[in-house]
């Protein structure tokens, strides 16, 4: 599943880049965060409660930053498991000056879901995954605007 989006904020590139790679900031935008363990800014684990309505459970997601060229580009990879299922997420972020001032943030996410959920929830998966990813970035956007 592929999702992508772009948004502009006033904040300078460095600030945007910093926040986008700050485990504490990102995790606040994750659905129902249960636990956060930060080994280093580029290596952290988050436990979130995710799902659709009552079909939900805890997912343990391990994030690592695999590409990093401040303040313009980064790639974040996450592997996770929960309710007999697996989540693999590749996120690309490209940050540039927006025309007419401010910063434009272009993101794209490739999600692969496997196991129990994929085997039964096919019809419902895409829409719900999209919601979760979009919410994440909308949340980060508001945070950036607030900052």
């Amino acid at each position: 599943m592929h999702f992508e989006g772009t948004f502009n904020v006033k904040a300078p590139k460095e600030k945007v880049f910093g926040m986008m790679l700050d485990p504490n900031q990102i995790s606040q935008c994750m659905p129902d965060l249960q636990k956060l363990e930060v080994k280093s800014p580029d290596d952290f684990t988050a436990v979130v409660k995710a799902g659709v309505s009552f079909i939900k459970g805890d997912f343990t997601l391990h994030f690592t930053t695999v590409e990093k060229t401040p303040p313009t580009h980064a790639k974040l990879v996450a592997h996770g498991t929960g309710i007999g299922s697996t989540v693999d997420l590749d996120t690309l972020m490209d940050i540039a000056d927006a025309q007419g001032g401010g910063t434009s943030m272009k993101w794209s996410a490739d999600a692969k879901i496997g196991g129990r959920i994929a085997s039964v929830g096919q019809r419902l998966l895409n829409g719900q995954a999209e919601k979760i990813v979009k919410n994440l970035f909308e949340c980060l956007q508001t945070k950036l605007e607030a900052a």
């Binding site: 599943m1 592997h79 007999g84 697996t86 129990r116 085997s119 039964v120 096919q122």
Partner: protein, 810 residues
């Protein structure tokens, strides 16, 4: 004074009535309709514990670590094992592949790497099913996903991900069958019809899933295995070598089996797994597969893509076939590459052409392993032939029936020897096709079709298919894929005894899954001894501790009626010879004069008789009355094998004993707006030679047809390109047809006795998946005005809709 009718009646009664051919009600049924069947999940033993299996969520990934500590601590958990444990105590299962594919290391649990979604990773034994399933949730596995491949052609490319490093590539087998002169045929042809055809993945999904109960008896050192495997004694080498356990202390027991259709042949990895768990825990252990496990990881049918070239004459004469086949056998080989050779039983189908080339590639992909499934490996080939014949007809502007009739092997050519050495044992293919066309009023429906095409609206389609239903395989075929393979021919065992009270008991090696062996065996034996079938008791199920067997025993390849009858007749002959000697001795006559009638041995000349009970009494307990020097007892075991040969240097040999055949005709009505269609009429004509029990034959014909209709219209194991996930892994998405989806079937028979099999019986039951051909032909016929070609064996409404849209937009 007796009237004429009375005299005729008396005469009729005087004739010895044969039970063979009677539509006898089945002996199995009273227990099955009363809820008294004995299926493997009904087996209960004192101290029974329950196993559950953790399976891979990934199509292809390395196992970095497995942490079972939390699961082990859960109250009620007896043991947890992983692939790492299994490697220490077992050996990889035997492979029948040639090198290098035979290097494949297949254990009952994945070791360090998973290669398909559903691959077993760990197993738990607990005091209850629930606790075992709870424990699975506590096992932590760290995977490292790697690239997967789910397309056979892609899997052959140099840079494709390799499933099993020890093999080095994904190729299991490559072979070239080359008969006649195809290039010459292509040169002389008026036209060469070309197509690429894809036969999809599906499976017969018996309503009873796989199951195993193993009790390791420490006192006797016996492994008592209760299972629903269809060829339990064939599994012995796999189990014995795999488990490092002596075969003479493995006892295989089956009871009633809730359907098999081939899919229950390769469940030996699970039998081995449960055996390990039973030995480890010292408890009897039961594992009952759930439906999701069955769909994801039990046994799919072979998926196959064909590149087809058919040189033809303008008049519809087919000169030959030039083929490339890519067979997708999934992540492990198991029974494969047997399937890479078994299609060759029906090389030319019912057709006459002599020029034939097949280049066959069998390839591993990150999908569920395949194995035998009703019409094993022939369905794919026969569908390709039937689809091609229709395409030929369409391209030449001829009626598909006409093209078939023109190319059929004729009755006067029987026994007909095929390019690949098959010897067809009689039949009239043309008559069966004409008959089935009559049943659907072919000419009438063609007129209706023309009329409705003029009107527009719903589209009517008519599809025909005539296929071979080969039965009783010659295992010599697996020497084609690997000359080292230690099996050939085929064999079956039967025992008949007349006890001290004259009661007849029969035991067979065949392992029934609903085919009514207790019934047909009683009919065959009753005729031999001149008794009624009620007087013959046949042991239910199979038990290697009590039943005679060959290591080729089992119900597969439509063989049991033929092989069982062969073995039974031999055993009856031995018992009768001895009984005749005893009777003759008591009647002071010669054995040659003895007949067996109405439960007695009768002197043909004097009419003097000795009842069976008396013969039994003398044979066993009153044995001082036996003829001088005769050993006591009245029981015989007989092993029967058909006369088969090994493949010659060009892989020619007779690959099955019997060649039944069926013609199917389907009339459909297709809704062009949605792509959905329904069957308006469905007719079948089948010829399986002499019928032992017409009720059972009819039932087999219906069942085989329903599987084909299900495959053509509803059932499809579809995998997600992107992540290798199985999309149809419950009965929510794997659509087994209901009573509303299967049409009424009009059936009729031709009865051409087999030229080779005992009593002229031919195998029946698999049906060659004929409906898949009839229906895809009907769909293309319905869409003919739009010039749409059907190249897939599965007809999904949205796919049909897409094809219609694409044509419309052009």
């Amino acid at each position: 004074m007796a009237t004429v009718t009375e005299l005729v009646k008396a005469e009729e009664e005087a004739k010895p009535k044969l039970w063979l051919g009677q539509p006898l009600k089945r002996k199995e049924d009273p227990r099955l309709i009363s809820g008294l069947g004995k299926y493997v999940d009904d087996v209960k033993l004192p101290g029974l514990a329950y196993a559950s299996i953790l399976r891979s969520p990934y199509a292809h990934a390395r196992i970095k670590s497995i942490d079972t500590s939390k699961a082990e601590k859960l109250t009620g958990v007896l043991c947890v094992i992983t692939g790492r444990d299994v490697v220490k105590i077992t050996d990889p299962f035997l492979q029948i592949s040639p090198a290098p594919a035979n290097k494949l290391k297949d254990y009952c649990l994945a070791v360090d790497k998973v290669t398909y979604v559903g691959d077993p990773v760990a197993a738990v034994v607990a005091e209850s099913r629930g606790i075992a399933e709870d424990a699975l949730e506590l096992i932590e596995v760290e995977y490292e996903p790697v690239d997967h491949v789910i397309d056979a052609r892609r899997a052959l490319e140099k840079d494709a991900p390799v499933l099993h490093e020890e093999v080095g590539s994904n190729l299991v087998f490559y072979g070239k069958w080359d008969y006649g002169n195809i290039e010459q045929a292509i040169k002389t042809a008026d036209k060469v019809v070309k197509a690429t055809l894809h036969f999809h993945r599906f499976s017969s999904t018996p309503i009873e899933n796989n199951g195993v109960v193993v009790n390791y008896d420490r006192a006797t050192g016996f492994l008592n295995i209760y299972c629903n495997n269809q060829m339990p004694m064939f599994c012995i080498p796999w189990l014995s070598f795999g488990l490092r356990f002596p075969s003479n202390r493995i006892r295989m027991i089956t009871g009633d089996i809730g359907g098999g259709f081939g899919t229950k042949i390769i469940n030996y990895p699970y039998i081995a797994l449960v055996a390990i768990l039973a030995m480890k825990t010292g408890r009897p252990v039961k594992w009952t597969e759930d439906r999701r496990e069955h769909l994801a990881a039990a046994n799919h049918g072979n998926e196959r893509t064909f590149d087809v070239e058919v040189p033809v004459k303008r008049d519809g004469t087919i000169l030959g076939f030039k083929l490339k086949a890519f067979d997708d056998c999934g992540a492990y080989t198991r029974y494969e590459p047997a399937g890479a050779a078994i299609w060759a039983q029906v090389t030319p189908g019912c057709y006459h052409f002599a020029n034939f080339v097949m280049e066959f590639y069998q390839v591993m992909t990150n999908k569920c392993p395949v194995g035998p499934n009703r019409g094993y490996s022939r369905s794919q080939h026969l569908w390709m032939l039937e689809r091609s014949v229709d395409i030929v007809a369409r391209e030449l502007g001829l009626d598909p029936a006409e093209v078939r009739l023109k190319n059929f092997v004729r009755p006067d050519e029987m026994p007909y020897v095929t390019p690949s050495g098959g010897i067809y044992d009689g039949g009239n293919y043309g008559e069966s096709l004409r008959k089935v066309m009559k049943l659907i009023d072919y000419d009438g429906i063609r007129e209706e079709q023309a009329a409705s095409r003029r009107k527009g609206g719903k589209l009517i389609g008519i599809g025909l298919a005539t296929v071979l239903d080969s039965g009783t395989n010659n295992f010599g075929q697996v020497k084609i894929v690997n000359p080292e393979n230690p099996f050939s021919g085929n064999s079956e065992a039967a025992r008949i005894s007349i006890d001290g009270l004259g009661q007849i008991q029969v035991a067979l090696g065949t392992v029934p899954q609903g085919q009514g062996h207790e019934t047909f065996a009683s009919q065959v034996v009753a005729d031999e001894f001149g008794v009624s079938p009620d007087q013959v008791t046949v042991l239910m199920g199979f038990d290697s501790g009590t039943n005679p067997y060959s290591h080729q025993s089992g119900s597969y390849a439509s063989r049991s009626a033929v092989m069982g009858t062969g073995a039974l007749l031999g055993a009856a002959k031995k018992v009768k010879e001895k009984a005749a000697k005893i009777a003759a001795h008591l009647l002071q006559t010669s054995p040659e004069k003895i007949d067996f009638r109405e439960g007695a041995a009768v002197d043909r000349e004097t009419g003097k008789k000795i009842p069976l009970w008396q013969i039994g009494n003398v044979a066993w307990v009153n044995n001082l009355l036996l003829p001088e020097g005769m050993e006591p007892g009245l029981v015989a075991i007989n092993f029967w094998r058909p006369s088969f040969t090994l493949p010659d240097e060009k892989w020619r040999h007779n690959q099955t004993l019997t060649y039944s055949y069926q013609s199917h005709a389907a009339v459909i009505e297709l809704d062009p707006e949605s792509g959905k269609f329904k069957i308006l009429r469905y007719a079948i004509v089948d010829d399986c030679g002499t019928q032992i029990n017409p009720l059972i034959v009819e039932g087999q014909v219906h069942g085989a047809a329903a599987h084909g209709i299900g495959a053509a219209m509803y059932e499809n194991f579809e995998y997600d390109e992107e992540n290798g996930q199985l999309k149809s892994s419950t009965f929510i998405d794997y659509l087994v047809p209901t009573a509303l989806d299967i049409p009424h079937m009009i059936t009729s028979h031709i009865e051409t006795p087999s030229l080779f099999a005992p009593k002229g019986i031919r195998g029946v039951g698999e049906g060659g998946c004929t409906p898949v051909g009839a229906i895809s032909n009907a769909v293309e016929d319905a869409l003919a005005p739009l010039g749409i070609r059907i190249t897939d064996s599965h007809q999904n409404p949205q796919q049909i809709h897409k094809l219609i849209r694409e044509k419309a937009s052009k």
